[in-house]
Symmetry: C2
Subunit: 726 residues, 2 copies
């Protein structure tokens, strides 16, 4: 790639970005699209656009984003989103502070040398060496000019550590502020109890749990909720069926009733077939059929609920306390002498609980965790093997045998050639697209009890995949597996191999970062894809209000994949920051634009699907730190390649970073694992409604109107409830 | 060493043992020696000998020891001692069960082969090959007879794991029984608070602590005790001086008063000199002088106590709660959002607290810990270097320059030769004798707040020292340092090196074990050394009752060095159990005799100096497991040396052991770190006297009669005290 083609690609990306921004300006101004561009505000019951006067100004959203405070973000989108912005601004700060020193100092130093011609160590891909002049590769080996780069390495490291420290402090404060808030949060009064031992013969599960916790917490125990098996053939299935028929009924009524403005029925009564997918079977009147089915299912659900509550109780429970301090301290304390029984955890928000994982036993969880780790490690290192295997298997010939209907297509020569050439790549793309889902499923299989924790676990796995395979893979060339084979033969090469190959790939990554922010953030802001999907659905599918809402409901920010994606950029920019400082402005643009556009999206579009009060931060901090260590080690290697005699003076840097990580883990991390008592001890705005807190944790399939208190109650908990308010 | 000299050494040891046992029988029957042989019973207010009728039977102590139950041991000597016996009987069980199978099977298999002559792999030290015939070295390489040894390896492993599992369960139960006991134990109502943040300007330290804990525990907080700096030039020094003068006064009065039976003073009034060591200075009347001094010091102490309590408050405190559950749960919960402030720990018994360590800050403790670890690692690997250096420096010539008074001694030729020859060895012996003390001091320097934990830490360090230096050192030959240099050159040799050298040293260790149990336990039982010291002191030094008691006060069992010593035997016997099964009877004798003799000593002699409720067990368990893994790895290596083709089938064994350790750590260990709530929730025999609990934690130097409540109190805690009984 030469300079002109680099600039061309840059310009193209920029044009795409401008076009997408213009599209956003036009489309977001139309009231009909409000549900796509302002769903979060609409769901919160706010006016989509803050002040009508500014609507004509196409850049008003920028002003709004810039003028919004952290408090606004927390109010609109929760602490987790605010913590994500702390991450973006921390990295932005690191890059800006590094750039201010590095660009004006290192570029002149590099450009006035001409070591590249005389120095055989510089590796340059192809003919592109115009930009190479701006990089450390242009410095003559052993030159005293290397001192400038040496100092720059220290500067970047110190700036990073300083800002990370400040941010960790800030996030810790954010978390404690959110947790100490006087609002009643149901999860602060509950704990999850797992690994309940075998039931003694003369007790029900509920009696067992209640008597255990009443002994330990005679004054603060409120009541318990035994986890039941709702899953297979159970209430969940019946409930889902019931909900499905309810939707169908609403839809049939809407079709029959015609437009919602007229109350008089018009049109023919809709009919459907009862068989598979509504394609076969008897033809029936939809409304009558659905009503029948609903009545039938309601009765069935009721009896199944009774059975479930009585007979499908599992060895896990939610236990509620009358105050926050007891709940917070119970979640951190050992209860049983055998530590693998009666294990107690913080309760997450009700919507986050993965019910089916609660009953998994202690050592099964441990075992599952290790099995998953091994699978993930194998995936990271050998992911090319199944893909090669699959693509070898899915040759066009085989495909034609399996799917006879593509035979006519295959006869077209052009298509045939293209298909044959791209099948392996398609297999790879499909794999990469499915990977986050796969990792999330694997994380869930570990037995993790909450959604947010599973997402964090998946995100960590995805981070290792991207950094190892994309960054190191592209840099060193070839897959990780082949690299490891090389390294195995010569273990000392590991650092110098990376260092030698790094400069040559600078332009590849420059283009990569530019493409990612211009096109990626352009698409993000303009929301072209959701917009099209929404309008298509509205036209052809949605009949009822509920269906329409489903069509535009925006989902959340998607940390699971967003953070690892950003992390890859952090790693790339940090590693190249001193070698090729030109990458810093691109990094600044990426995180600056990202901050701006996502601020808009957080305030107006995305609806968080859970709240973990910033528990993501320790992971983010550690991964930025890991990137920093990779940068420091690579730099040490590269200085070695440049034959800089003072290279050992860089050794304190990675040690310092590791000590920093250790101190952070000791000073801040435990408060992210558990709520601290000092925070939980803050007084509440109002006396908590414990009954309501308890109800909020009942899964929807068990909480229909007919199922009243008695099911969850027995004499014991009645007593506890009446005494707890004395 | 040939067979006859081996038998001679064995016989000599045995004769010494018999002599010592006879001595014990004679001496212990004399009433005047009761304080040496039955101090624990005397201190507990019991009759020294249970029934006078049995006194003539020299073996009655054996019957008494055998018939004593675990409950007796706990009653007389505490849970820690009972746990030590669990350790002894576990190892005994492992060895007996192994021996039952291994001896009748392996010995015939080995003796009927004669591979040793044809097999060059067998390493035999010198001419001693009579015993070698009984060992695995006698088996021809690749012989199918090796299968017997292979199965034996599995048998020993499974027996060990099974018994360890049972013992861990049992000790866990013992601990929970002790902790749930309805007796009021002061430490169960208190927690240690360290890392209290800087004092706000408008508060005293006490107000700060009280208000912090009253907010979190409004109902269960009782009061707090701020840790003060009593050490340098403070109350501790004055108090010690005062106690010294009190002793001197008692002594002077005893001398003046003559025998205790007559009330009339006789003899001259004692005098002493006031200067250095009573050797120089003015001659004064002792009784008057001491009385003067005491009066002076009491006043000084009083004012110093006031100053200390008010002005020398430190950033640590003891906090007392009104019930056990709150104290147990507080010790396990995070209190502050910044985890390095307000850190809370279980309180130990008052007598165990190392007051001066309480004020060490969070990260200083971490730092101290790592520095100590590094020092210990260096000591283990390079302990020969300073000794060589010192012994090079302390040649006789240098010594004569430094200590001129040994010159006349050095002129005697025989003595000179001996001294010159043994000086390095003496240096080594002095070092080895001082090592436990040194390791204990190092452990204390880590900032550990309790005596028992410091002893555990020291014992761990001592274990690594002995196993690495004595066992591996003797086996491989030479110091660890030189071994590592060999291994570094050829890293794959590490296992086979050990395996090859092991059989050759079998007889050395056989003799070592025999010497240790015959002579060691003989001395232990007969208590010759304490007896002599006691009688010497009684004759020439002791004048008062208190001094006499000090002379016979027996001290505790000394886990710190006893457990690592036993561990060394465990390691030796396990590692040789299959290679040279003849070692098993020696191991059985060691642990059987040990059990018997120490049972006697625990019931009658030693007085435990602290109680940690079996916290030592997880360490013991892990170290036996480490020995087992060493055994398994060595066996794998030795089978390799014997060219046994199925050697890889041994690989599951160490993996299984590690999984066992992991499961134990997960299932049992946390309950040894913290008291569990289920245990703490058991009801007490009586309403605890909180005032008394609080008083028991006041250090003696601050708790004189004159210092009354007001010093420790202020308005706030008065309130809390009066409300807590409502």
């Amino acid at each position: 790639m030469d300079l002109s083609s680099f600039l061309t690609s840059l310009a193209t990306s920029f044009v795409i970005f401008v076009v997408l921004m213009l599209l956003f300006t036009c489309l977001s101004a139309r009231v009909g699209n409000n549900v796509v561009y302002y769903p979060n505000r609409i769901l919160k019951g706010l006016d989509p656009v803050e002040s009508r006067s500014r609507i004509r100004n196409p850049f008003s959203w920028i002003l709004e984003a810039l003028s919004s405070t952290e408090k606004d973000v927390i109010a609109m989108s929760g602490v987790d989103t605010a913590v994500y912005f702390v991450f973006l601004s921390t990295v932005l700060g690191i890059l800006v502070l590094s750039g201010i020193i590095l660009l004006p100092v290192l570029l002149p130093v590099a450009i006035t040398d001409n070591g590249a011609k005389s120095n055989s160590n510089t590796v340059s891909n192809g003919t592109f060496n115009e930009l190479d002049k701006f990089s450390m590769g242009n410095i003559t080996g052993k030159s005293p000019r290397l001192w400038a780069f040496f100092v720059a390495t220290y500067w970047v490291s110190f700036v990073s550590l300083y800002l990370l420290w400040k941010s960790y402090n800030h996030v810790s404060w954010l978390r404690s502020e959110a947790l100490r808030s006087p609002e009643v949060k149901p999860e602060q009064f509950a704990v999850i109890v797992r690994d309940i031992p075998h039931l003694p013969e003369d007790q029900t599960r509920k009696e067992q749990v209640d008597s255990y916790f009443k002994t330990i917490y005679p004054e603060t125990f409120y009541r318990s909720l035994i986890v039941t098996d709702n899953k297979r053939y159970g209430v969940n299935k019946i409930w889902e069926e019931l909900e499905g028929y309810k939707k169908k009924l609403a839809r049939a009524e809407a079709v029959y009733g015609g437009s919602k403005t007229t109350s008089k029925p018009e049109g023919t009564r809709p009919t459907n077939k009862t068989g598979f997918l509504g394609l076969v079977g008897e033809k029936v009147d939809s409304i009558n059929y659905c009503n029948e089915k609903i009545n039938e299912l309601v009765a069935k659900l009721e009896s199944e609920q009774n059975i479930t509550l009585k007979e499908k109780q599992q060895g896990a429970a939610l236990v509620f306390f009358t105050d926050r301090v007891t709940a917070a301290s119970a979640a951190q304390s050992l209860h049983a002498q055998m530590v693998d029984t009666w294990t107690v955890f913080d309760a997450p928000e009700p919507r986050q609980i993965i019910w089916s994982n609660l009953n998994i036993k202690f050592f099964e969880r441990e075992l599952r965790q290790y099995v998953v780790y091994i699978i993930v490690a194998l995936t990271i290192f050998f992911y090319m093997i199944p893909i090669t295997f699959i693509s070898a298997f899915t040759t066009l010939k085989n495909l034609m045998k399996l799917l006879p209907f593509i035979k006519p297509l295959a006869r077209i020569t052009v298509l045939k050639t293209v298909l044959e050439a791209y099948l392996p790549q398609i297999a790879l793309l499909v794999f990469l697209a499915l990977l986050p889902k796969l990792l999330f499923c694997l994380s869930k299989l570990e037995g993790i009890p909450t959604e947010s924790q599973a997402i964090r676990a998946a995100s960590g796995k995805y981070f290792y995949f991207t950094v190892l395979n994309v960054f190191i893979g592209v840099t060193v060339g070839g897959t990780l597996f082949s690299t490891f084979k090389t390294i195995q033969k010569n273990p000392n090469q590991i650092v110098s191999l990376l260092a030698q190959k790094l400069p040559g790939n600078a332009t590849f990554f420059l283009t990569f970062v530019a493409l990612k922010f211009f096109v990626g953030y352009g698409l993000e802001l303009s929301r072209i894809v959701p917009l099209i999907i929404y309008h298509l659905k509205r036209k052809f599918l949605c009949k009822t209000e509920a269906e329409l809402k489903e069509a535009w409901f925006p989902g959340d920010l998607g940390y699971g994949t967003r953070v690892p994606g950003d992390m890859l950029i952090v790693t790339i920019v940090l590693c190249y920051s001193v070698i090729a400082p030109l990458i810093i402005p691109f990094g600044v643009l990426y995180f600056g634009l990202g901050w701006l556009i996502l601020r808009n999206q957080a305030l107006k579009v995305y609806v968080p699907s859970y709240e973990s009060y910033g528990r993501m931060w320790p992971h983010i901090n550690n991964r930025v730190l890991a990137s920093l260590v990779l940068f420091q080690v690579t730099m040490a290697g590269y200085f070695g390649v440049q034959k800089f005699v003072y290279t050992p003076l860089l050794i304190p840097l990675p040690i310092l970073s590791l000590i920093f990580g250790f101190v952070c883990a000791k000073k801040f991390y435990p408060a992210f694992q558990h709520p601290t008592l000092e925070v939980a001890a803050h007084s509440l705005k109002e006396q908590p409604n414990l009954e309501q807190i308890f109800r909020s944790f009942i899964p929807p399939s068990l909480s229909s109107d007919k199922v009243d208190d008695d099911h969850f109650d027995d004499a014991l908990s009645q007593v506890s409830r009446s005494t707890s308010f004395v």
